[in-house]
Each structure stands twice: as C-alpha cells, then as structure tokens.
C-alpha cells in the first residue's frame, strides 16, 4: 500500500509537468512585455501630451488592451487576464475612469460619446419575449445619461421613440456631439422592417429638436452599409455612407463585392435633405473624409504628400492642396486609418502596427491652415500586432 501511494504521488507529479510547461512558460518568457517608442520627425512630442491611443496588442496569451501616451510608459488597466474580461479598450478605459457612471450600462461603444467636458450615453431598447407587457407596443423610452467630467454630476432624461406597432428593438449605432446638440443614429425594428433615423437632441432645452428620416433604402440597410456622421456647422449634418453592392447570385457569375460612397446632408432644424453637389473625386476616391466649419475634406496620402481636397458647402468652392510629409502614413490603399480632432487640428494615424519592421505613422494636421503641425511614428521592439481602436484626450 505504501508503494502504491508513492507511485500515485510520482504519477501526479508527472501529470503536472505538461500543465506547468503549457501555463508557466508564457509567464517567464516575458513576451507580453510592451515596449513602444515615439519618434518625432517634425514638431515636439509635448504637443501630443494629451493624446491617448487605446488599442489592443496580440500577445502569447491572446489580445490585451493597451494604452499608449507620448510622455508616459504604456500600461494595461487589466487587473488580471481572463478571456471573459477582454473588452473594447475604450469601454475598459471608461469603466476605469468613470466607474460610477458606467455601472449598469451596456458595454457597447456606439452608445457612448466623450468630449473633454462630457461623457454621454444613450441606452438601447430590446423587447424581451415573455415580459409582462405581452406584445411589443409602438413606443419606448431610451435613457440618456450625461456625465459632467468636472463636477462628476450625472443628468438623465428619457427620450421617447415612436415606431410602428410591434417595436422589437431600438439601438444606437453612432453618436456625435456639438456644443449643445447630440445627434445619434437609431435603428428601429418593427414587425417586418427596420428603419433608420437621426435623432437630434438639444442638451440645453433637454428635448428632441428634430428627428431626421434619412434617405436610406431597405436594401442599403439589409446589406449593411457603413457610415460616418459629421456636423459641419450648427445646422447641417453630413453623412458619409459606404454602400456594399453584392453580386447577383441568380446569374451565378462571380463578382467582387462593390462599394459605393454616398455623401448626404441634412438640415438639423427641419430634418430635410440638403442639396450637396460634391466633386466626383469625393465619391470615387479612397481616403479619409472629414468635415468641419462648413468645409468637407478628403485626405489621402500620395507619394510623400498629404493630398487634401476641400469643398466649401456655402460657396461650393473646391481647392486642392499638397502637404509634403516625411512620414508614410497610408498603408493598404487607405485602409486602417483613423482621424481624430485634437486641439483644433486633426490627428491622422495608421491603425495597425504589424511587426518591429513596421512604423505606425502619424501626422497632426492643422486643418484651418492646411499644414502639418507635427509628424512622427511609433515603433515597437516586438513581433506583435497592435491595433489602435480609439483615441481620447485628457
């Protein structure tokens, strides 16, 4: 019997060896240690001191949230690593910075919008089968929560949403905030179809100012178009929709999925569509679209230059400018790029850092004067993929 116990103990130790090899090796290999360098080719690093790049880095233990700032070492906010706690880096950041506000709110990035003064959230609605109300009605309320980041005060309001009889869901897909207006795209699902609206909410009057019914077809909704929304002035909303055109399966001819860009403008006061006669290049060229102060910008990188086309909505004047830049920022024909307003400028950056031979280029573009205020790139010492998902500013 004594020998049996010794054999069992030895067997148990043998059983543990493969498990220790599997789980302990990544801990001691230090491959998850992050190391990123910021290098400036123009301007000072201090100009970007309020910048936070939130992203994900692929490590041996899966994806991990990461925050890069120019003047501080990168770090992760995760207390412990678990597959079940991995979430959108922006939501993770919001939960760590504003835990009281975030408690009880769904972790959907689309439902939040943050400025340097406020954090806003609009809740979604989903009809729950078997609820006491029996069948879904034609109205529901969505809770709007506004956090004042300075005072930590939270204000809430109910936004009434009306649809057809049998309202099964109403969910927010994007939000935009100006000084006093909150605009959010709302998808409302009834018995047979889905509708998209832009709700314009006046934060000062605390009421819905306008409900815009955009000219988006059921087909566009069905095939899942993607869109950005811009406020180009206090009364005009511009949407940049990329429409997917699928091959005709009935003819059994294989075709590539085609994309088409549609830019539309809406009056925020009346909800009506505004005529917008854009140059062809805005519709058919890849690049970043941005709009502010009555001007729509199309920005792309071409052989050492930032090529910027502008369209003045008021005068319909078109200009073209080439800004020489030393940083190559446009990979993969304009894909994986992001542009974020930062201190009266636009921070343009690539979103993907593939490996240590790659550079994640960025340009701080002075939009008003069309000059590059700062340029540089981020490099890493590791063979890791890194994705910048979101940017926010202190």
């Amino acid at each position: 019997m004594k020998n049996n116990k010794k054999i069992l103990a030895a067997l148990f130790v043998v059983f543990l060896i493969p498990l220790i090899v599997l789980y302990a090796r990544p801990i001691f290999s230090k491959t998850t240690e992050k190391n990123f360098q910021w290098e400036m080719t123009k301007g000072e690093l201090e100009e970007l001191e309020q910048l936070h790049l939130l992203g994900s880095v692929e490590s041996t233990n899966g994806w991990k949230s990461i925050e890069l700032t120019p003047l501080h070492d990168s770090g992760s906010t995760a207390v412990f690593e678990s597959m079940y706690t991995q979430m959108n880096p922006f939501i993770e950041s919001l939960q760590s910075r504003f835990p009281k506000f975030m408690r009880g709110k769904d972790a959907h990035i689309a439902n939040f919008v943050e400025t340097d003064q406020h954090l806003l959230h609009v809740a979604d609605y989903h009809y729950f089968y078997g609820s006491n109300s029996g069948v879904p009605g034609n109205t529901t309320t969505l809770e709007l929560s506004i956090l004042d980041k300075e005072t930590n005060e939270i204000m809430t309001d109910d936004i009434i949403v009306e649809g057809e009889e049998g309202l099964y869901y109403a969910y927010v897909t994007k939000m935009e905030l100006s000084d006093s207006l909150l605009i959010f795209e709302l998808h409302i699902g009834g018995d047979f179809n889905e509708e998209i609206f832009f709700y314009v909410y006046d934060l000062q009057k605390q009421e819905v100012q306008t409900i815009i019914n955009p000219t988006i077809s059921q087909e566009e909704i069905y095939y899942g178009s993607e869109s950005d929304i811009f406020l180009i002035n206090e009364s005009t909303l511009v949407t940049n929709d990329v429409i997917y055109t699928y091959p005709d399966y009935e003819t059994e001819e294989f075709e590539e999925i085609q994309t088409q860009r549609i830019i539309r403008a809406y009056d925020l006061n009346t909800g009506e569509t505004k005529e917008l006669t854009l140059p062809e290049s805005f519709i058919h060229t890849n690049g970043i679209l941005y709009a502010a102060n009555d001007i729509i910008y199309l920005i792309r990188y071409e052989e050492g230059n930032l090529h910027i086309e502008t369209f003045d909505v008021a005068t319909e004047e078109v200009t073209e400018t080439n800004i020489p830049v030393t940083t190559e920022i446009f990979d993969n024909e304009g894909q994986y790029l992001t542009a974020t307003p930062y201190q009266d400028a636009l921070f343009l950056t690539e979103q993907v850092l593939i490996d240590r031979d790659d550079q994640l280029g960025f340009v701080l573009l002075d939009v008003a004067n069309l000059t590059a205020r700062a340029e540089g790139f981020i490099t890493t010492n590791q063979e890791l993929r890194y994705y910048i998902d979101y940017l926010y500013f202190e």
Partner: protein, 274 residues
Amino acid sequence: MKKTFDLLAFELHRVRILYPVLVLIIALMQITAIVDTNQNYMSMLEHFQITGQGNLLDFKEYWGPTQFTAVTGHLAYVYSLFVGVFTLLIYSVVIWYQDWWGKNNLSYRLLALPGSRMSIFFSKLLAILFMMVGLIAFQVVMLYVGNELFELISHPELLESTSIRQNIEYNAFLYVILPNLIFDFFLHYTIGIAALTLVFMMIVIALCYKLKGMFVNAAIIVGGIAVAVSSIRFDIFRHLFVQEILYVVIALSLLVFFLSLWISRKLLQEKITV
C-alpha cells in the same frame, strides 16, 4: 488523511485497466484525425492537379496551407475529447453505485472502516480529479506529439506551422478544457470541481433517501435552472462589471463546493445506510 489516500489508491487500482484503455482510445482517435486530415488534403491536391486546376503552389494559394488547426477541428479529434469527458462523467456516478449496488458488500466494509466517513467521499472525488488531471496532461502531450507527427507526414511545401495556443483556440471544446490563460484554467476547473462535488452530494442524497432523495435531487436541478434563467431574465448582474461577475461566479462555486461537502458530511455520518 491516511485512510483517504489508502482508499484513493484502492479506487485508482480499480481502474488500472479501464483508464489506460481510455487513454489509448483517445490517442488512437487523435492519431486517426491527424492521418485522415493529411490524407484528405493530399486527395484534394491530387484532384486539383488531375483536373488541371494548377500546380502545388496554385493549390496552396487556393486552399491555403495545411495546418494542425485542421486536425483539432476534425470530427475524430472532437469526439476523442467527448469520449474522455463523458467517460469521466459517467464514472463519477459509477464510482459510487458500484459499491452500493449488486451483491457485494463493499459499502458495508467502507462504512465500517474506522475514522471519518468523509474519507470515502474525498477518495472518490480525488480519484476522479486524479484521472481528470491525467487526461488533461495527456491531452497537452498529445498536442505537442500530434503536432510533430502531423508536420512529419505533411507535404513540407504545403505545411504551415501553428503554435499550441492557435491549435487549442481552433477547437472551442478544447479551449474549455485547456484555456490559454492560467486564470481561466483555474476558473474553469473551480466551477468544474464545484459541479462534481454537487453531483457527489446528490448521489449521497439518493443513497440516503432512495426515492425521496431522487425527488430532492430533481428539486435541486429544477431550482438551479430556475435561478440561472431568472438571473438572465431579470438581468441581475446588470449593475456589475464583468470582472465583478467573475468574482461572483468564483464565490458561488466555492459556496456550492463547501455547502455540498458540509451536506455530504452530515449525510455520510448520520444518515447513510446500505
């Protein structure tokens, strides 16, 4: 403690044939998956070349390289994991009833042994856990060995090596058994051990109260399902962050574990009969 380990040795001695056979069956199924995946791939290549669709490089470009992830997604591989898990689950019940049912009087002797009767409980629990750890360790070894074997028999120009982590991630069931993160490993097995202890408690209840015990167990199952459904229906975790929900799950697992131990101890000391 001595009694527990003596009984553990006794329990494991009982499976000295069955357990190696189980391990052998799993190994054979996984080797079959490796060979079959390679053969399927080579047949596809042959068909590709015979029908004039192109050469080896065209095939690789069209179908992609051959990877071990295809093996972990193979049906024989998936079934081999099910065989291991379900055999242990079934044996978790058999390990009790083989002493209580039939003509042998082993349960008399077990209950008559000097010392705490919880030794019976712990020895059976540890026996299952011992076998479980053995199967997990064997699975890790098979992942490394299988990967080497696959690379050995695969066409070198079509082969693309994958890491153990990638191979595990490709099979959702394997990922539950061997999660990539050590925290998740402890989380999964904390829940698993708590569930096993609960099953053992329910078996002890059934042994103590016979038909009435069955009703009690049915009530426990229905109650558990009702709590789970209600928690989803009323979204009771809505105000918790996901990390906090994990803490709650761990706390509930520990509660189930210790409560099951306490109830089992009471029943084994005061109620159980042969």
